[in-house]
């Protein structure tokens, strides 16, 4: 009974925040495209469906590649891969970040010192370089393995943010009050501290989601993408390898870039909108 009032209040402000609405609309559009898209095309990404290097036409909405593959099919399936990387990579990154951040923030002392140093180290190392080496050595690379690697190296940002947030919440009196009510530390973290950070966790996830997509696209572009299947980064890589530029086949490399930029950009804008919604100071005004 106590939570409804708070939830409806947040919802009320969320719906009126246009940054959030725009961001959400763009992301949902691409999400729908991911599910609906494959219905419109019966080819698979690598099939040779028609004459090569065709500009977009009613027959091939996004035209065809130098090998006559249907760009639209590649685009739609590439989208699926991108979202998968975002969810798995971003999700894993947030999860590890939350765990490290929570434990370091709540425990404090030596535990915090060690975890914090670890976070700083992983933060400083250019994680892409590590991914490079790992991916290069792997014989078979699937979308899943790539996402897991990205997740395992993208968590420091989340860990730092959540650690700071936990620190500030831990020193609040209501945590002491909970301890004086005989609650065990684990219960305190999940019933007292975590709910306060729900908005924070969600925003961290959005940033991780966007970050994962960008890293994945870069990896695929360098040629370390999934050996089987297709992804937006891989499309761009192929486009460059087969000199789509010189042949003026803009329809091959423009759509994937637009999709990535739109999704990640929409996520960032959503994040700003959410910040305004969840920030009580702004709401109280």
């Amino acid at each position: 009974m106590t939570k409804q009032k708070k939830k409806s209040e947040i919802l009320y402000f969320a719906l009126r925040n246009n940054r959030l609405r725009v961001g959400l609309a763009v992301v949902l559009f691409f999400l729908v495209l991911t599910f609906v898209g494959p219905l419109f095309t019966e080819y698979s990404p690598d099939d040779y469906v028609g004459p090569s290097a065709q500009p977009p036409s009613p027959e091939y909405w996004f035209g065809t590649t130098t090998f006559g593959q249907d760009v639209f099919t590649q685009f739609v399936l590439g989208l699926k891969a991108t979202f998968l990387v975002g969810v798995v990579g971003g999700g894993l990154g947030t999860l590890i970040g939350v765990l490290v951040g929570f434990i370091a923030g709540y425990q404090g002392g030596i535990v915090d010192e060690i975890l914090n140093t670890l976070t700083n180290i992983v933060l400083v190392i250019p994680t892409l370089a590590i991914l490079l080496i790992i991916a290069a050595y792997l014989e078979v690379r699937g979308i899943l393995t790539e996402s897991i690697f990205i997740g395992c190296t993208a968590w420091p940002w989340a860990a730092r943010a959540i650690r700071a947030q936990t620190f500030s919440l831990r020193s609040r009196d209501f945590v002491d009050l909970a301890r004086m009510s005989g609650m065990k530390p684990r219960k305190i973290i999940f019933t007292e501290i975590a709910p306060n950070m729900m908005s924070y966790l969600f925003m961290t996830f959005i940033l991780q989601f966007g970050g994962a997509i960008l890293i994945a696209a870069t990896l695929d572009f360098i040629g370390l993408g999934p050996t089987r299947g297709i992804s937006l980064g891989l499309m761009m890589n192929n486009a460059v390898l087969w000199s789509a530029l010189h042949l003026g086949m803009w329809w091959w490399f423009i759509p994937p870039g637009v999709a990535i930029t739109a999704i990640v950009g929409a996520l960032y804008v959503m994040n700003v909108g959410l910040d305004e919604v969840f920030n009580p100071k702004l709401r109280e005004m």
Binding site: D176, L177, M183, N196
Partner: protein, 313 residues
């Protein structure tokens, strides 16, 4: 009821914890049954640290706290929970004592989950209504509200009502009225004084001498973690012995006397007393023999039920 023996708390500070900060050093006093003791000290005197140690929120570095004869540092799990059934605390900032995203009466819910899980609803609601009335709150206009919809005074009384749900014997009130307005402050103070009649002992932590005087029978004056003066409130206020207490009495703005008058009076009364310990470097009266600086003064009974820790008396 509650006895502190040689209680100390040392914090590690500096990048590698090089230096040590003695927040509380060797504090000894007790709170008897049905008694209000005020713990008076300026910011940084360690008074809140003592409060938190009594509530077992931070571990003590050395010394012992005994509640009804039992050393509380040994309490674990169930025993600790029983301790919280008898000892509770209320903090300074009402708005930080409530989890902002829940309703205010969730603090009651927490007590019920932990201490009275099997109590039936109507019985529990009656218990809440009676304790709310005991603190002078009307259940209808405080229940089912978010913390930011209630005033500071209501929130503090809400916390006291929460403590009354348990059959507590000892309450730590850590600066609970310093964030409230003058007019609501008095009602909360009167409430604390009334609780004494219900058999409660209270440790009233404050930096405001007049509030301490108004409510407590005995007072403990703290300076940088050490007890400099202790005893019955009237005696200390009428005849402050320790130079630090005298300085405090002279500095506090009063409504009946101007600062100059107070200084003149105090000068006349205590010209013959000198000396101090932690107060050494600020103490105008300590003569320069090493004793004042080196040896720690012990609390001696200057007059009946009036102790002071000062080598020069």
């Amino acid at each position: 009821m509650l006895r502190l023996d040689g209680l100390s708390k040392v914090y590690k500070v500096g990048t590698f914890g090089g230096k040590e900060l003695h927040a509380v050093s060797d504090v000894t006093f007790d709170v008897r049954d049905r008694e209000v003791v005020s713990l008076i000290g300026e910011s940084g005197s360690g008074k809140s640290t003592i409060g938190k140690m009594i509530l077992r929120l931070i571990p003590e570095s050395s010394g012992m706290i005994r509640f009804n004869g039992v050393d509380i540092s040994t309490l674990k799990g169930g025993a600790l929970k029983e301790y919280y059934r008898n000892v509770q605390g209320v903090f300074q900032d009402p708005f930080s004592s409530y989890n902002p995203i829940f309703k205010a009466d969730r603090v009651f819910g927490m007590i019920r989950e932990e201490f009275y899980p099997e109590m039936k609803d109507h019985e529990w609601n009656d218990k809440i209504d009676s304790s709310l009335k005991a603190v002078g709150l009307n259940p209808d206009d405080v229940l089912d509200k978010f913390p930011h919809q209630l005033s500071g005074g209501q929130l503090q009384r809400f916390l006291i009502a929460r403590a009354l749900l348990l059959d507590i014997q000892f309450l730590v009130a850590d600066e609970i009225i310093s964030m409230l307005d003058a007019s609501t402050r008095i009602d909360v103070l009167n409430l604390l004084a009334d609780l004494k009649s219900r058999g409660l002992s209270i440790l009233f932590i404050t930096h405001d001498l007049s509030l301490g005087y108004y409510i407590s029978e005995r007072a403990v004056i703290l300076y940088r973690g050490c007890v400099v003066e202790m005893g019955s409130t009237e005696r200390i206020f009428d005849n402050p012995l320790h130079p630090y207490t005298t300085m405090l009495m002279a500095a506090v703005p009063r409504l009946d006397k101007k600062w100059e008058q107070v200084e003149v009076e105090l000068k006349a009364k205590q010209s013959e007393y000198t000396g101090g310990c932690a107060y050494y470097e600020r103490c105008p009266l300590a003569d320069k023999d090493r004793a004042c600086a080196t040896e720690r003064p012990t609390l001696i009974e200057a007059e009946r039920d009036h102790f002071v820790a000062c080598r020069k008396l």
